[in-house]
Amino acid sequence: MVVTVAAGLMVSAPLFPGWVRYVVQIALAIGLVSLGVMILLRAGLLSFGQGLYYMVGGYSVGFLSRHAGITDAFAATATGIVASAAFAALLGLFIVRYRSIFFAMLTLAVAMIVYGVALKVSLFGGTDGLNVRPTTWLGYAPRGSQLQLTQFQFTVLLTAVLILAARKLLNSRFGKLIEAIHDNELRLEYLGLSVRRSLLAIYVVAGALGGAGGALAAMAARHVDPSFTYWTTSGEFVFVAILGGTGSVFAPFFASFLLEIIRSFAAAWLPDYWQLLLGVMMLALVLLLPRGLWSLARVVQRTFGRTSAPVLLREDART
């Protein structure tokens, strides 16, 4: 299905107007970061600082373009992913000891410290950020609408590859282990498994996805600034992840598309009150579809007699 959709999008891309392609690119980038948040949520961890990796990915592209003159898309995204993963591995050593609200607040705190530093250090361009030069692909340097088209196709391709990889990971033995951590980590420890090492691993995976999203967003917007790691940005990823639900790797993309569509239209029609619209819609979803948008897909699946997808944000007896 991923392959069909991705191939379809890439082939039909010239038919869409430029702004639609741009919205799709940003939705995919946000979806990738939110996929990382969603994977952490499966283990019961709520990261409120995923914007940090979004920023690391974005600035990898920005720095390569500004200081090294490298504009190659493959090199830039690879650097973004590797840099974010490295950051996540380092920070993860400290942070995976924490759970629930403490994990959320610490991830938030680190992201905000980086934000505070980035604002003051001229290397990051202050509040203005850095501009990113037009992307190239192994020497192929399109211009104008062709550039945007190629970028779109590259974004779709990379996202599809990462979705497939994430799905493989979540369906593997390790993926089941992550869900078990959410259920009861003490029992896992008794079974001789290292909860900490598994959490570190998925924190790195989530960071890498965040870096990929940040790199793609920076290339699409041709710009990166410290607000990538501001807490409202991180909050948006959490929002998208919960809105989609943890039922499937597609759920965050589903939700990020919906969010971007609402944002585009609300910004045009209700520029001053789009938060109100968003808030009311969120409340309606939370109250009517507490398992996330993906539970709609489950209703459809059930109607057609297929087995249901796993659902993780379930009612724990935590009263």
């Binding site: 629930s100 607040m105 610490l106 929002f239 001053d272 109100l276 808030g279 409340l283 724990d316």
Partner: protein, 298 residues
């Protein structure tokens, strides 16, 4: 010497404010185990109501004391009504859901409240500085310090003492502590947990709106003040130990003083000093300064 005094006075003043904005949040967290993002919305509603009430009483030609009384009463009423509505319409249906979902719901309420303030009072900034200007300044050493800010320090101290006494000396307060400690056991002992939860949520919302109202004379009331405040209040609550009022006092004082240090001596660090404190505290006390030990349940 003057610098040290300035830092001390600024720090205490900031700490008083931090404590006032996080008191309601920490109460709600303690009892409901929920991070109430909507607290930020109640705060801005409180600030806007205060600016509105002061505008009205200025037009009526009332004195400073009357202005402040009207401001506090109006904001408290708005806060109580709003939070009761939120609890009845939204939270009441979600108590059995996963905490991330409840967090999302309060975030949604926060977004709605933010835009509602814009819808009601417009997007321009409002000013409520009349009482603060009328009260003038007083001399502390070589420092001219606004009397209103001194008053706020007094209010924060009184609020800390009153809430401490309420929780330790009154019957309802003891019930609240029981529910905070062990919700299931309290229910088993015949405490009406649902009613305590509703009551505390409303009280928390009222305190949030009051904090906003008391802040209003010091700032320009404009859209976005709730966003700035909510993350700071979270940090105070987490550093103090979730649900602990003593903890919130200590956290507010530590953060307030360090921030004053930073803003006078290392201005570049001012943006993130609160987060640095939070990281440092949690590195050594993983559950905050004043939190009871948590048992792992198998």
């Amino acid at each position: 010497m003057t610098l040290a005094l300035t830092i001390l006075v600024d720090g205490i003043s900031y700490a008083a404010w931090l404590f006032l904005v996080s008191l309601g949040l920490t109460l709600v967290f303690g009892v409901l185990r929920l991070l109430n993002v909507a607290h930020g919305g109640l705060y801005s509603f409180g600030a806007y109501s205060a600016a509105f009430a002061i505008g009205l009483s200025l037009r009526a030609g009332w004195g400073t004391a009357a202005q402040l009384t009207v401001m506090v009463l109006f904001a408290a009423a708005v806060g109580a009504i709003l939070s009761l509505t939120i609890e009845r319409l939204v939270l009441n249906r979600l108590y059995h859901e996963h905490e991330t979902l409840v967090l999302l719901a309060t975030y949604a309420v926060f977004l709605v409240l933010e835009d509602l303030t814009k819808l009601i009072w417009g997007g321009k900034s409002l000013y409520a500085n009349a009482p603060r200007d009328a009260l003038g300044t007083t001399q502390i050493g070589a420092l001219a310090f606004p009397v209103y800010d001194l008053l706020l320090i007094g209010v924060a101290t009184a609020a800390a003492l009153a809430s401490g006494l309420f929780l330790s000396r009154t019957r309802i307060g003891r019930l609240v502590v029981a529910v905070t400690t062990d919700r299931e056991m309290s229910a088993a002992m015949g405490i009406n947990v649902a009613r305590i939860m509703t009551g505390i949520f409303v009280a928390g919302g009222l305190l949030g709106a009051l904090a906003g109202a008391l802040t209003a004379p010091k700032i320009a009331v404009l859209p976005g003040i709730g966003v700035e405040m909510i993350v700071l209040a979270f940090a105070v609550v987490v550093v103090g130990g979730l649900g602990s009022i003593t903890g919130a006092v200590f956290a507010a004082v530590i953060i307030g003083l360090l921030r004053a240090f930073a803003s006078h001596l290392v201005p570049t660090a001012e943006v993130f000093v609160i987060y640095a404190v939070m990281t440092a505290v949690l590195a050594f006390r993983p559950y905050g300064l004043f939190s009871p030990p948590v048992t792992r349940k198998i």
